[in-house]
Structure formats: structure tokens, C-alpha cells
Amino acid sequence: MNSPLDILTLQPPEPPARPALPFDVRRIRADFPILGQQVQGQPLVYLDNGATAQKPRAVIDALSHYYTDQNANVHRGVHHLSQIATDVYEAARRKVATFINAASDREIIFVRGTTEGINLIAQTFGREQIGEGDEIIITEMEHHSNIVPWWMLCREKGAKLRVIPMNDRGELCMDTYQTLFSPHTKLVSIVHISNVLGTVNPVEEIVQIAHAHGVPVHIDGAQAVPHQRVDVRALGCEFYTFSGHKMFAPTGIGVLYGCETYLDAMPPYQGGGSMIQSVDFDNITYGNTPNKFEAGTPNIAGSIGLGTAIDYLNSIDFDGAAKYETNLLEYAHDALRGVPDLKLIGTAERKVGVLSFTLSDIHPHDVGTILDQAGVAVRAGHHCAQPIMKHYDIPAATRASLAFYNTREDIDALVSGLHSVRKIFG
């Protein structure tokens, strides 16, 4: 195989990371320059991390360094800069593989984000393997990005979506899940952590049950990777997708993990440069995994930013950060329960720092605007999860979503802002 990856295996391994200091939120906040700014004359309280996370200085500097000192196209030139760009791009792939414990860096496909990752599976594996009368199992709590690509595929092929329902706490009904399988089930595609409810789904169990029926599983990990360590081999799933920008990396870069046997058997995604072995007008031979899924010039800077974000997470006692976040979530739950007429949406036993709620009959856009005047950034709307809104019979919700750089003072500012909302609306 004449892959550029071969050259890289000859390079010395990277030095081991320094042992992380115990998690300290004050020190961590200093790593994120944007958190120091003021909004509407108030210190920024950023509680919209589920939409996108802020970036540490290291990631911002890595982008600048790449464009200042290393920019060239990858997998093409024989010149010095091209070699460097290729090296750093493929090094980022290796960092991702290690980060999620993939068996090989060939299993890491760079995409624009979770959405493109899911569309890639639908357009390659899906179009080849799913036909008339076949079924795909998803859940009631999916983000639109894990509904629409499958719905479109089902429309094209005459296949059907089967939906695992959830209870009012926002937990999947696992008993019903078992009954949804049929000989026509071709894929289970589920969200790891809900972007609205914060529910951590029992993905290990979901995978085991699917495998008992001989069905492969895709997990949408967009909201999972910023909050906890993910080990794709321990999960045993065939596909796992996530976005860089929600885990402190730039926008426009994301990852599709696929286990090698599946990826090798799948047809290519887009056609173009980089994804071929040879082209003439009578015959085209496609390249190997992962190149056959990465047509065109990739997001090189984005991949480097993602690799740097992973380095950053490895440097900060990520497990300590996750524990800190859990404590902060408990504090936030208690604080919000003290706000009259506030109703939490999503009270699963296993959940991460996502707090969606309604406040009396005050519309979330009004809540969001008033909080913004206090410097508090939250999300208001249907959160690209209209079936969840339908479940709770609400048009929209307000969502505060946490990252490990948030503090109790942030939660206090949110609660104080909510009291102002109630005062204005009487």
C-alpha cells in the first residue's frame, strides 16, 4: 500500500504528556481568553456550551502557528512545507485515535462535524446496505442531525424509522427497545448524551442488545466527548461521530470513527482528489481507508486545532474536570429548583451538565434576551430536537449548558437573571 500513513509510522513516538495538576477551575479559566470579556457591561457568563464550547489559548495559537509557519496542502507536494503539513495533519489523526481508543488511526475519518459524519454513514453504508422494507432504530431524543439523514434515506429506499420512546424524566424505555428489532433491522443510531436533556444513555447495553440481533450501531457523541472519556472499543460500536467545536476545538472539523472492517467494505463518500488510486476515463480505482472518505483538500488547520484541543484535555486532569462538572450540575439543579415556576426538562438519573427548563409561561426568547442583558449567554428555542419539545408539549425551552470552566458564580448569575425575568413579567 502506497499510503502517506506509512511514512509516518517511521517517525519517533511523541513524548509522553506531563502528569496533570489536580483540577483547579481558576487556573483553567485563565486558559480561555474569551471568558475575560464583558457583555452588556457585565462579566460574560457563558452557559451555551452545548451549542459550542470556547477555545483555550493553545488551540487559538495552534491555528495561528499553522498558518504562520506550516501552511501547505497535504498528501501532495514533495516540498518541505507539504511534508510538515502532512505530518501535523496525520499526527492529529493519531491523537484522535488514541483519545477515543480506536484500534488504528485508519479508523478516523475527518469530516466537518457530527452532522457530516452521520450523513457520510447514511450516504455510503446506508445507501448500500439499507433497502425497501428495512428498518433503522433511533430514539425520541435525537438531535435533528440523527433524524433527518435517516429519514431522507428511508424516503429514498422505502425503509422505515423505528423510534425508542422515552419517559418523562428523559430516559429511554429499554423494554420497548428490545421489541423494536425485526429481521429487517439494519442499523441502530442513537445519541450518547442528549443535547436537551443531558441524559447519558446506556449505550453499552444498547450496543450489546443490537449485537445480539446482529445489528451494527452508530453513536452520536457530539455532547459526550466534552464531558467524559469515550472508549469506542469498550463501547463496541461500529460507528461513533463527534464535532471538534463542542470539545474546545475549532468549528468545521469533526470525526467519524468507523471500525476498520466496516470502513473497508463501504463505498467512497464524495468523489475528487485524494480519494483515488488512479483515474482514467475508462476506469477509476479508489484509495484506501481513510483517504477514500476524504475527497478534496481537508480542513488541515481544523484538524491541528482538534489535535491541540486533545493535547489540552490530556494536560488538565480531564477526569477531575468531569467530577468538578458533576458537582457543579448538582449545585445548579438545587439553585434552579429554588426559582418559583421553573420546571426542569430532563431529570434522568444519569445526566451531565445540561439544564433545560421552562419558566412559567414566559417564552424562552424573552428569557434569553433578559439574561443576555445580565451578560448570561444561554440557548433558547427548540434546540434542533423538535420531537423532545413535542414530548413535553412545549414550543421551546431555555437551556443552560455547562463546561468545566463554569463556576458557582455563573450559576448564581443565571438564577439572579431569572429572578429579573420574573420581575419584568410580573
Binding site: 417564552h363 424573552d366 434576551t369 413579567f425
Partner: protein
């Protein structure tokens, strides 16, 4: 919070809580739906005409305080006006919120002036204008739901 009092004036809060003309007109001579898909706001506007005069107007829908109050005050303003006058109000309302250089006579706007503060909140302008776009669609007999997004 003085700025917010500017946005959420008593008149707006009142029309949000007790929207006027909040009803379906059946039969209606004209009808249109408006939809803001990004935030989920929806509005339906019903018209009964007498010649080119709007004899009665009603609306239904769900949305934030700004969108609901805007629809309510729109119906109060427009009832009894001609279609041509309604079009002028649409243009003036739009200009008040989006065109700082317009030499609009704000006294002409009556109660609608209460929305002038919305122009300082660019993310909320669509909330205030949604019902007006629906009104215009009803006047022009547009059959498909109009949307604030292209």
C-alpha cells in the same frame, strides 16, 4: 435593567398577556400563515374585507412576548384601514425597526412606536415583524406559509 424596561414596556407585556383579536375568523376572505423556523414562532392572520377595507382581523399563534404583542397591536392598528393603508403601515413598521436612516414620522406610528426599542435587539426584529409579513401575505393572497428565513 433600564434598557430592558424600554424593550418590555407595559403596553407590550399587557398585549402579550391579553392579546386582542386573538381568534379565528370563519369565514375569512384572506388568510396566511407565518413561520419563523429557527425559533419555532408561528402566526396565522385572518382578514374579512369590505371592498378594499379590512372590516375585521384576527390572529392565532404561539411565540414570545414581542411577537405576540406585535401581532395584537397590529390587529388593533389595522382594523378598519384600507389595504393600501395597511401596506404603508407595513413599510413604516419595517423601516422603524431596520432602517435607522429613514426619515419616518414616528408620531404617525401611534401605539406601534412601543416597538421602536426592538431595533436595539437585532436577534428579536424577526419576532416583531413576523405577523406583519403574514398580514402582507394575506393581503397578497399568498397560499404557502411565509417564513422569516429564505
Amino acid at each position: 435593567m433600564s434598557d430592558l424596561r424600554e424593550l418590555y414596556q407595559q403596553l407590550i407585556l399587557d398585549h402579550n398577556k391579553n392579546p386582542r383579536n386573538f381568534r379565528v375568523l370563519d369565514p375569512a376572505d384572506r388568510f396566511a400563515e407565518g413561520d419563523n423556523p429557527l425559533c419555532g414562532d408561528k402566526v396565522e392572520v385572518y382578514l374579512q374585507l369590505e371592498g378594499d377595507r379590512i372590516k375585521d382581523i384576527g390572529f392565532q399563534g404561539s411565540g414570545c412576548a414581542i411577537s405576540k404583542a406585535s401581532a395584537s397591536l397590529m390587529t388593533e392598528t389595522i382594523k378598519g384601514k384600507t389595504l393600501g393603508e395597511a401596506e404603508t403601515y407595513f413599510k413604516d413598521f419595517q423601516a422603524m425597526l431596520t432602517d435607522p436612516s429613514s426619515n419616518l414620522d414616528l408620531d404617525q406610528m401611534g401605539k406601534l412606536f412601543v416597538f421602536s426599542g426592538v431595533r436595539d435587539y437585532p436577534t428579536r426584529i424577526k419576532c416583531a415583524t413576523l405577523s406583519w409579513h403574514a398580514l402582507r401575505a394575506a393581503i397578497n393572497n399568498v397560499q404557502t406559509p411565509i417564513t422569516t428565513e429564505r
